[in-house]
């Protein structure tokens, strides 16, 4: 045979240039054996291809999906250490690279975001108080009134609601802004206290599924949740009771 097996393989894989291709095609027309070898290469490639096609149809495990949807070194904003850290660091924005991302760096980022909002004249969605980070403005309103899964009109989206082990009502949320955030807020002392805040995947469509919550938020939920997330009726009941803990209303 005039052509090596490797050459015919490369032809079958579409790797040859125009001239070599034309030569082989000419030879194939004259010699059925050459055509058969090429066909065998193509058939094998197709079989190998289709043997693994099923993997593409499998659902991607949540563990992997969440990894690709959030910073891997979890810039969880540790709200306690944040205050302590804030005075120390003022890293320039260009240095925010993943290896350096830590609770410390993230807290600086958070400060910068709040600052940016202030400069644009928007009211920041949260404020640092003596009791910790507390929802304000639109986020506060959404957490108080918006039902889970509804789209609302602003940047805040409530994910789902549940009871904390300690009895407080808690809700997950997304803040859809230039640097999207997601977090967990719990109703304490008539305020929504932000217990976890983490960088979130950018908003992809109209509906942000709960699965897009950063791992840090989901872990905080796992640690805090008593029972199951609320269904619609339980959520409406809690909202209409002003998110007051049952038996705790008088105080």
């Amino acid at each position: 045979m005039k052509f090596s097996d490797e050459m015919l393989m490369a032809y079958a894989d579409g790797e040859l240039d125009l001239v070599a291709r034309a030569e082989i095609e000419e030879a194939m027309a004259e010699d059925p054996e050459i055509a058969r070898v090429v066909e065998r290469h193509r058939a094998l490639a197709a079989r190998v291809q289709s043997a693994y096609r099923g993997v593409l149809e499998e659902p991607v495990p949540a563990k992997l999906a969440s990894l690709a949807a959030e910073p891997v070194t979890a810039p969880v904003i540790d709200l306690a250490s944040r205050r302590a850290a804030r005075a120390e660091t003022r890293a320039p924005a260009s240095r925010w690279r993943l290896p350096q991302w830590s609770a410390l760096a993230a807290s600086v980022a958070l400060g910068a975001m709040v600052g940016a909002l202030l400069m644009r004249g928007e009211s920041p969605p949260y404020e640092e108080t003596a009791a910790g980070l507390v929802a304000r403005g639109e986020l506060d309103a959404a957490l108080t009134r918006q039902l889970a899964g509804s789209l609302g009109t602003g940047k805040s989206r409530v994910g789902f609601s549940f009871r904390h082990h300690d009895g407080a009502y808690c809700r997950t949320f997304h803040l859809q802004q230039e640097a999207p955030l997601a977090g967990l807020a719990c109703r304490r002392d008539d305020q929504w206290k932000l217990e976890v805040l983490a960088a979130a995947a950018p908003h992809q469509g109209e509906l942000q599924p709960a699965a897009a919550m950063p791992m840090a938020v989901l872990q905080a939920v796992d640690a805090a949740i008593e029972g199951e997330p609320f269904d619609a009726a339980a959520e409406i009941a809690a909202r209409d009771a002003g998110w007051q803990q049952p038996g705790n209303v008088a105080e």
């Binding site: 790797e15 043997a51 693994y52 099923g54 993997v55 992997l64 891997v72 690279r97 993943l98």
Partner: protein
């Protein structure tokens, strides 16, 4: 904050790539659990080294290279620990298919599992992931001639293992 960091860009593309990364991992590890562990390790590595990825290059090929290296490291570590290879777990990747198609897929996976590592990598990148010879050679860090001969030998071995049942005519 307006310019996305390399990490943001890599992450934004990774989500869509995950099914293909899982497939590639399944081919080279031959085991569902190892495969997903490998994808996880590779994604973590990629995010931590995102600054090294050139945005004008293909992220999938870059990821395949990271996965290849991570898997080779893992194999060496296992050999050092003298651990037995995890049992091959064919058949998990055939998806919805007729019994006949499933049998064919299983036999191909079993044949692939018997290829030497280097041939399986070449076959996985070119025949399954559709990389060009040049891209596959770059991903594996080998000359294109080496890639071509590994691919040819891998194919011959598959052909021998599978017999002529896939032949048309």
């Amino acid at each position: 904050m307006s310019t996305p960091t390399p990490v943001d860009e890599v992450r934004a593309q990774l989500g869509e790539l995950l099914p293909r990364l899982r497939r590639f991992a399944r081919v080279i590890t031959r085991n569902v659990q190892d495969a997903d562990d490998l994808v996880q390790a590779a994604v973590e590595k990629a995010l931590s080294r995102a600054a090294q990825w050139r945005p004008d290059s293909r992220l999938d090929n870059w990821m395949f290279g990271i996965m290849k290296n991570a898997w080779i490291d893992e194999i060496r570590a296992r050999r050092r620990r003298e651990r037995v290879h995890a049992p091959e777990e064919a058949g998990s990747a055939v998806g919805d298919a007729s019994a006949e198609a499933r049998d064919i897929a299983l036999s191909v996976q079993a044949a692939m599992a018997r290829l030497p590592e280097e041939q399986r990598l070449a076959v996985a990148l070119v025949l399954i992931e559709g990389l060009s010879y040049k891209e596959a050679a770059e991903t594996l860090g080998i000359p294109i001639g080496t890639l071509t001969s590994r691919l040819a030998r891998g194919r011959q071995a598959l052909q021998a293992l599978l017999g002529g049942t896939g032949e048309a005519g």
